[in-house]
């Protein structure tokens, strides 16, 4: 039986049910790890470490979770803070070997992907980090602008501005694909 987030959290907090927390980890691990890989510039090892730390930190703080926001928003905020904090402390220590390896693997996979996916990736690469993260959270993860602002610790207006600028740039870059789809 698939319980919703609120029920699982209640079980963890009230009954100390770690199996309920495992269900939450399984539910969000793929999305969070994928998001953090983007945030960590493709360093998969670092992204997974950060995701693991985020889940553990969230577990410890779960009794204080008031449910004002969705669990996913709260979890992303913890993870986002961890990555930003790590980046500030270890700016020069990016595992370049891991990044290169991941990019090499990606380029092999890309050879088999549709042109759309490849061009979408290229277009996303044209965005600034903040624009890319805002688009990822709002348009890929489905967070509202307010939730994205909470996660990114930015003013709401700044997030909206990032999304609007990114949208305009992507709209321009991907216009041929749009026309193709519209033209059938």
């Amino acid at each position: 039986m698939d319980l919703n987030d609120e029920d699982l959290i209640r079980r963890v907090v009230e009954d100390g049910d770690q199996r309920a927390y495992a269900q939450l980890v399984r539910r969000y691990q793929s999305q969070l790890r994928f998001s953090l890989r983007q945030l960590c510039n493709g360093d998969q090892g670092l992204a997974d470490d950060m995701a693991q730390e985020a889940f553990i930190k969230a577990y410890k703080a779960l009794p204080a979770f008031r449910g004002d926001a969705r669990f996913s928003t709260w979890l992303y905020r913890i993870a986002y803070n961890l990555v930003m904090s790590h980046k500030r402390k270890n700016a020069p220590e990016v595992d370049q070997e891991a990044v290169d390896r991941a990019q090499a693997e990606e380029s092999v996979e890309e050879a088999h992907q549709l042109g759309m996916a490849r061009d979408l990736n290229s277009a996303m690469g044209e965005l600034s980090d903040a624009q890319r993260q805002a688009v990822h959270l709002c348009m890929q993860r489905g967070f509202s602008h307010e939730e994205a602002a909470t996660i990114m610790k930015l003013p709401l207006g700044t997030v909206k501005s990032h999304v609007n600028r990114a949208r305009a740039k992507l709209q321009s870059l991907l216009q041929p694909w749009r026309e193709e789809v519209a033209g059938g």
Partner: protein, 121 residues
């Protein structure tokens, strides 16, 4: 500048006026192209690193029930206690009976407290 089939071309112009439509299309493309990452032991690693389970709320609830039971039992004892007789004995300055009752009540409380402590351990 536009991108098509991996080739960057100069821009023919920016389309406008269909932002909600574009948002939907872009969201679909982004989500469609996202791979699902297999767990590959990730969940197990997280669960292995979690701190020990804190005192369960159910245990705390059980402790509260124990206290409530003691209070209820004490209330019943007090209710059933021949208070009038004791008062009459006290009025007759029967000090030995009063002392005996006090000692009995004190012993009962000590026994109940000890029982609670033993149960909690």
């Amino acid at each position: 500048m536009v991108i098509k089939d991996g080739v960057v071309h100069s821009a023919p112009g920016v389309a406008g006026g269909d932002e909600p439509d574009f948002d939907t299309w872009l969201s679909q493309q982004l989500q469609f192209n996202e791979p699902h990452l297999d767990d590959e032991g990730f969940c197990e690693r997280v669960m292995a690193d979690l701190p020990p389970v804190p005192a369960k709320r159910s245990e705390r609830r059980a402790t509260r029930y124990q206290y409530a039971a003691v209070v209820a039992a004490s209330a019943i004892v007090c209710w059933q206690f021949p208070l009038e007789d004791v008062l009459a004995a006290m009025a007759a300055q029967s000090i030995s009976l009063y002392s005996l009752v006090g000692l009995g009540m004190l012993s009962s409380m000590v026994a109940m407290t000890g029982g609670i402590l033993a149960a909690r351990r």
